[in-house]
Amino acid sequence: MKILSIDDSNSIRHAVKKMLDVIGAEFFEASDGLEGLEMLERSGKMDLILLDMEMPRMDGMTFLETVKKDPRWKDIPVIILSSIAQRERMIKAIQEGAKQYLTKPFTSEQLLVKVVEALNLDEEIP
């Protein structure tokens, strides 16, 4: 299970990595949209992308639009992780094809529940 976290904050990426260790995910990271695209080119298909909105060089929305237009990557589910102040942009991101979004700050349980749902890991629960 390969998960790419794109966020310009080192501390958020570090915290997200620790949270994702709980489900044994293979973690990849990038500090902006451009680096995220490079990572996709380099590392092949991801199972899930966690995406911040406000970033230098290439922001989350531009990254999302680029990924959703590329047949290689358009089916990768994307969860937006962003602040409540950006809710209008979140609506646009969902319209652009993001699967879910989570408002910062979040707990590990909140993030993991979203990740489990996005990856349909809970399909087999009795």
């Binding site: 709980v22 489900i23 809710r87 319209q95 629960i125």
Partner: protein
């Protein structure tokens, strides 16, 4: 996303009918803050659209996510000292006394990511060992249910990050009952084997779950409307064995909701004992 005009009434009726959650006027902010994320995820531009989407959902999955969003609670190991004092001094010793003559069953009714159910399993193990009868712990079956299948996936995995493991858990318990796997702590196989999890909506008939010797329904009913509380506790009374305990959250009471239980105060924890004569 803003809640406007009659949308609150629409959402209120939906949530009450389908989730049993009561929303008083003035609680508009609860709908707005807790359901807006979900509505946006589903591509809805307004709560009116979200309401239509929710009505059209026949899988029950969206209903589960709405309940989950409305009732999200903090969950951590050994939450509430008073409750765990009761469990250590009364609840668990009584379970083990009964376990000497056959299997006993415990139900964690809103198990979320599993901390409450695993806390019971750890305490049962500790108590059985201190009695010199560790084998008795294997006769206490613990069932954890929740409406959220994603939360249950995590409960079944039994893996917690550094922050979750530090909340409520002593170093000694962490060392004894968890093994370290990088930055994650995984519950021991022995404790894990004593807890079963399954998805369950408290609005459904409880009979399929069987009878219980102790039920924990903590911080669940606080969100429910009065009629549903009565209905729920009435149905729980049918699965709590006579003389056995139902435990609610520290701020909750059964008063006015059920005549089938007798309160029993132990230090600062009230256990509601199922009356023996029906």
């Amino acid at each position: 996303m803003k809640l406007v005009g009659s949308e609150f009434e629409l959402m209120k009726t939906f949530v009450e009918r389908n989730c049993g959650i009561h929303l008083e006027p003035g609680k508009e902010y609860l709908v707005e803050t807790r359901l807006a994320d979900l509505a946006i995820e589903l591509g809805c531009r307004s709560f009116l659209e979200f309401h239509s989407t929710a009505l059209a959902d026949t899988t029950g999955k969206l209903k589960g996510r709405i309940v989950d969003a409305m009732t999200t609670n903090e969950t951590y190991f050994f939450r509430d000292d008073n409750f765990w004092t009761y469990m250590r001094e009364v609840g668990v010793p009584e379970l083990l006394r009964k376990a000497a003559s056959g299997p006993v069953r415990v139900w964690s009714a809103a198990a979320s990511t599993g901390q409450e159910a695993y806390s019971v399993a750890m305490l049962v193990d500790e108590t059985a060992r201190s009695m010199g009868k560790p084998h008795l712990a294997g006769s206490v079956e613990i069932l954890g249910t929740d409406i959220s299948s994603a939360a249950l996936f995590l409960a079944i995995a039994g893996r917690y990050d550094g922050l979750a493991i530090r909340r409520g858990l002593s170093d000694e318990r962490r060392r004894r009952y968890f093994r370290e796997d990088g930055s994650v702590w995984a519950i021991s196989d022995e404790i894990k084997s004593r807890v079963k999890f399954r998805r369950f909506n408290l609005m459904d008939p409880l009979g399929a779950l069987g009878g219980f010797d102790l039920v924990m329904c903590r911080y669940v009913a606080i969100y429910f409307q009065e009629d549903f509380k009565k209905d729920l506790f009435g149905r729980i009374a049918q699965v709590v064995r006579p003389g056995c305990a139902l435990i609610l959250g520290a701020t909750e009471t059964l008063r006015g909701h059920s005549e089938e239980f007798e309160p029993a105060l132990h230090k600062n924890c009230t256990a509601y004992m199922r009356k023996t004569s029906r």
